[in-house]
Subunit: 484 residues, 4 copies
């Protein structure tokens, strides 16, 4: 049983050309003119692109005795509806919980996924057990990316010595360090101060996490990664201050990547000043939305390559869940949706405006992260032998985003009312057509875990350089004294 | 008649994998395991990479009644010997000469080329004729890149209004602006001042062209390109000041690329202080070599992506020609060699040290420039259908660079004595094996001109953005006066 | 006949203390407690500060057969009304006119001044005559500052080689180079393009002079000054791009100062989009007003010391004069008022908001420029022996700015409607009370020319450094050839 | 009994003029021509300048059961010998010790001082007691500056939440926060790693404290100070990374000062590679010496004003004490001398080269810090009423620095062999001539404690701005829900 995508224009991170694509057994088996197959998908007027990869989701994430409302089923359904064919979720150990234990929980939840997925492992505390299990996670479980929270004090946050120890360990194992970069100590102090001053509404969430605290933590993580000799990936880079730290690091030859979210690219802090508490609370996420100056910075980063990936941090809570925080903004669950809208929003505000070329669009939504995560070209490519995770993108298709018609399980959409132009005609996950011209045909459990090898080319190069420039002792005779 | 490269590891700008490559009719016809062909090239232990592209050469360039000593034959022979399979030379009209006229001269010279080549067109003066011929050059002659000299006052230099006019024209035609960025007015003043002070030796060449004058001109070209709405490519970026201007532009979303030379990456200004006049004079080029601070900046630029391409500005003059400038450094012909050594030197100092991954090596020596010049994936790729311009790279092969054994026509080598590790085992130009395990088998006249289309994806995106943000008149009634 | 200012708090650039001030013969003769004199001015609740110095005015400036409407009488009257006790005007030779000739014209006009004044000499063309007269101007006429226009192509603009020649000359003479920094070539091209596109209104003035062209020219002037070894003063720094260039230069140890105008600190580009043509045209000046991002940059520059002086570029044209440019924005005379409002506006938006300390206010309105111009402590100080140019500043005094009640000769005020808090109670020019509690008591012709010596401490230090680091020839034997 | 300094040129931070100075009762009583007094000091050919203030010393500092070898007697004697007339030492509570307790210890030690002095209070732990005693220290003890160590983990180091709490407290009290900025967690990790690798010599001290860890901590302290709304003074800024963070902060209008040491300005890291262990160990201090790139940055900072003060961190340990660290660099006591040499070294390398004007020399050695510490113009000025802390500086006087002839109690000098030109002819401490033409006439116990008031002008301005821009709650009706 083969499928052929016909009459489209293939757009990858570095090529644009007309060709048909044949798919068989979940893989791309041929690319060329005039292909034939059992099933045909008409891509006339469309771009055939690698399916999107969202490297930052929190599906069915435990929170205060409940869970984020999009699970691996609804979350990946929303993803596919918007042209995204792979998600990477974060396996989060509770403090004291082993990494493998936590991973088991994520394995269990992810069996319902409609598309392929992978995990980042989080290091939320430090011990010999964690040190040891990291090796198993890397070598046996196919996970080479480890997340560290510099915020959420008293919960997920780790300190600088723990960061260094974990980064050093990753350097040995050929892994990549990820950070949520906000100074958790200062955030906690600002939260307390704001609450004490009667600043209890959702806007105080934004006040408690200013760009400065994100910039600082980003800068600190970069230094620690440099000292430990490990590549660093900064999640949800939302502001000029953090972007500046990344740029500065890159211009010194450091191996650092930044990941803006589609929300920060297109929404701003005025959302928190909305007179409707619910409206504001639904936008509460960390880091919070910023102002136009920061948006301009993020877009320029995508254009120049100082920022590499557009993600969502999809972590959907219902209005009811958000209302846990009435009267105390620190209790509003952090997170928004975005999985379904990332690709159309970025196309509309990025490609249609001329900020990004279509190739750059593919790069930042799919190919770059596949390379960073070391699952390229299985994912992120339109090549013979690659997984047939594809989106047939219709640049003329339009809609107005609305919660009423979305796949996500929640009752609102932070992009409500935005008009987008550029939407999937078909989305294929390993050859299976999950979106067919507006109709959702996902299959629960179709998704598989994607293993990723450590010690990619960047790790290897960095280690070589660090070894070459390592400190050497001075040879001395007659130690210690002058004349001895 | 087919050739198969067997048992190698293919390395491209974004992939590393084991596969054989079959070539027929000058094209890559198949990539995969266990291929067979009429002829076999053993790539065991080697990397199979896109042949290098050097976008900056001056072969048989007219100079003071003579010519630079490497012509299209010896120059491209040297290129192939070092793994470079395409060069782009500059067609330089004399002041007053038409573009098409000049192009005819370059067509004549290039018939002897051993490998494929293309041209950049230079705009060395401005008139309606130039304005008109630019369209012909772009649309009929397949040249989309136009060089402008901001230095060489009284000869090739154009002023800011001419730059703007030409850039604006290129914006309309979908071309790309190139600049040699040094402030020619200030260079001329410094030259006069140094000569007057008795500073007549080759070191004064360096004194007369400090990093500041390059940084300034780079910054100016960027502004003018931004105003005209055209992508800008800065040739021979040699210093932090120029790199800083490029970084700053990129971080504002501007479309600018920088091109360091292998010479500036690996040689420094101390060469000009050599007690042997010949030694110093042989290194005279513009911009001159810089100090370590600048070298570090250039390497970091390659690592971070703020600089895109490594070239040579190959323009070889013999010691005899250099001696035109005894007693007056301003008369020393500007230019050094490098075509044969660019790839081994960059591999040795870049990949072997861990500064660059092998994929990044391919990107900066071949793929990036092929994309910028809009001849990708015909060039710069290892893909079915691409030209079989390939290098089989042996990372274990070593040599010490010496003029005694080089292909170039000149009597010295600026890299004399440098030990390199990483050299071509085979170099193929459109399928023809030009270098066979140390033996040179080039064929004069084998090279063909490579046409390049205008209006690439970056041009299109930039034009869209510029149109979107163009100034709009304010609608007013009752002009002019208050109350009217 | 002596005057005593009693019960005030003296505020200088570095001191705040309570003391009375006695004045006799136009000089400060004593500072201390309980002073007595023939006349007493009550400074209870007030700050006694050095009178403001506005180093950038164009009084009675020739323009298209007419003159800017504030002459030395009305202009200096407006200055005194606002607490400014010295102005520095620009002597502008016509192309071809000698410097001394032009100076004679300015001498004639300035006889009517109500307060002291000095001149900057402009270099608007280059010749041996100009070269020679520069020495006379410096040594005999007491002028050490020379202005250069990088814009106004075809009129005042000089090219890079002329800039270099003049800067070099100033380096020898111990002078300081001033620049109006905008790329005149590009402005001219943009003007033509806008006019051709039907963009003829005053908003097109802003479009034709974007921040980029100012940033570029500032950067270029800095490089040329560095090459020539002369301190540089950049007038009317209006944008982040120019400020960035200045910051970058300073952080390399270069001797550069920047001068924001009170207009750019407090007004923005939206003024040009006003539906009333007159409103917009009255705000036409070069550089034009910018957006909030640029304003923030300028304020931060004053706070951090990367910008040094707040001026006005006072050049007042009536509405009638402005209407020369109906239908062609390039004909709108460039210039706005500000002399009367600079100090109250800066106090209100700077000191009252906490951006500046009162001492910093004095520094940027008076003391810094007195030092730069080398007339400190005769001007800009509250010291025994200094000229009694003083303002008794009442921080509680308020008003709403309005053209109806201003001293300036024009029929509008760009700050119309702004509410200021902080105004002069008394202004003294060399001891004469020119403003007495709201009453204007100026005396036409009271003002005197202030001579200023060359070769200040900064010039001397810079010359020492440049000499120490000057290029030295390499000593060679056996030139030219190897082995010779 | 009066003293007159005759025939000198007074040089202050902003003035250079010829005048005599009369001194009586320890104060300056008159400045002018032809003064007479009981005693005359001939200043012919000399500059009369404010005595130096060294705001960073550790005299008789407790360390591992012993003390740094210069106490308040020998230390201030060395200071006076070099033209420095006031020192500010750090009162360091042990963890758990109260601030007032610690202050008592410093009061006891300082009774032997030969010149005036003040204290910074260190916050080395956090508790309600510390919080409360801070108020007493500020209001009753005349100390407005509080030091915080971000390094020395397990000893003096405080964490980010403690920093924030202390900074916030200082904001309320009108104090200034000082930081030793190095990331103590990372330093500790690097120390352990180096020791484990057998890198035990003094050069490993430098390896364990790279510029990156200082830059990071500086950046972090700036952010925390900004959040708390307190001015920040960064001690011993030694590298471009830290300077960059300070520059970046200043260019955002933040109130931050940086203090390079004379050692970092003139000595480099090669000292640690000396084959003599003693030589290297004697130079062990934190931060360690850096390379030329960093030195250039520091000098440029002094020139541009982004760095404000030159200090010494004088903390002298004998060779015998240094040898505690044989075999374990982490045990080498941290500290070098400098008090006696700061002024001649800075004059020689700063003023004589043209990097600094004489006025700038006074600013960075005396006046700037007097203003920051809020003891200007009592100290740091040549004004009637100011303390007669003066140095008569002979720019023609030369010597070669040597431990053999120094006042300091230790047996070596890190500047050994440096030739300086520019030395005190006389040094006066409150009118007493402590250095008389090469002869030391200090008087033990002459020195007095200098009280310093809180809430200076910068604190007031910053508080105004922070109040103006403080977060405000959004007014909402119908909380929480939509439509409720
Ligand atoms: Zn996060
Ligand atoms: Zn997240
Ligand atoms: Zn060139
Ligand atoms: Zn060239
Ligand atoms: Zn101007
Ligand atoms: Zn002007
Ligand atoms: Zn310290
Ligand atoms: Zn210290």
């Amino acid at each position: 049983m083969s499928t052929v995508i016909k009459n489209g224009t293939i757009v990858t991170a570095d090529l644009t050309y007309e060709a048909d694509v044949r798919i068989e057994g979940g893989k791309i088996t041929e690319i060329g003119p005039d292909l034939k197959g059992d099933e045909t998908l008409d891509a006339t007027g469309c771009y055939v692109m690698p399916g999107g990869i969202d490297p930052h989701t929190h599906l069915e994430m435990p929170f205060m005795g409940t869970y984020s409302s999009d699970d691996f089923e609804s979350g990946t359904r929303a993803a596919l509806a918007g042209g995204t064919t792979m998600v990477v979720d974060f396996a989060l150990p509770s403090p004291g919980q082993g990494l493998l234990d936590a991973l088991q929980m994520w394995d269990n939840k992810s069996t319902r996924a409609n598309c392929d997925y992978s995990f980042h492992m989080a290091v939320t505390w430090w011990s010999e057990q964690v040190f040891n299990e990291m090796e198993t996670v890397v070598k046996e479980r196919g996970i080479n990316t480890f997340k560290h929270f510099m915020a959420y004090k008293g919960a997920l946050m780790v300190n600088d010595d723990e960061l260094y120890a974990s980064f050093q360990r990753l350097s040995e194992l050929g892994g990549i360090a990820l950070v949520h970069a906000e100074n958790g100590d200062v955030v906690a102090e600002l939260q307390a101060k704001l609450m004490a001053a009667g600043n209890t509404g959702p806007e105080a969430h934004a006040y408690s996490r200013p760009a400065q605290v994100e910039g600082e933590a980003t800068n600190r993580a970069i230094m620690i990664a440099d000292m430990a000799g490990v590549p660093l990936y900064v999640v949800h880079t939302s502001c000029e201050e953090a972007h500046e730290a990344i740029r500065r690091a890159k211009m010194q030859g450091k191996r650092v990547w930044g990941e803006p979210l589609i929300q920060h690219l297109t929404l701003d802090e005025s959302e928190y000043f909305h007179e409707d508490w619910d409206h504001a609370a639904r936008r509460v996420m960390s880091p919070p939305f910023r102002d136009k100056r920061h948006q301009d910075s993020l877009w320029a980063g995508l254009q120049s390559g100082t920022l590499s990936v557009v993600a969502t941090d999809h972590c959907a809570f219902t209005t009811e869940q958000k209302r846990f925080g009435v009267g105390d903004f620190t209790k509003i669950p952090n997170g928004t949706g975005g999985l379904e809208d990332r690709m159309p929003m970025l196309w509309t505000y990025g490609v249609n405006t001329g900020r990004l070329t279509p190739n750059e669009f593919v790069a930042v939504t799919s190919t770059n992260i596949a390379k960073i995560l070391n699952c390229y070209p299985r994912k992120g490519a339109v090549l013979v032998g690659a997984d047939a995770d594809l989106v047939v993108w219709d640049p003329a298709k339009e809609k107005t985003i609305s919660a009423d018609s979305q796949q996500s399980a929640i009752d609102y959409n932070v992009f409500e009312g935005k008009h987008v132009k550029g939407l999937p005609r078909f989305t294929l996950t390993r050859g299976k057509v999950a979106v067919h011209d507006g109709e959702i045909r996902t299959e629960e459990g179709h998704g598989e875990f994607v293993k990723r090898e450590p010690a990619g080319a960047v790790n290897t190069a960095l280690s070589t350089w660090k070894e070459l420039t390592a400190p050497r002792p001075v040879e001395r005779s007659g130690i210690p004294a002058t004349g001895v």
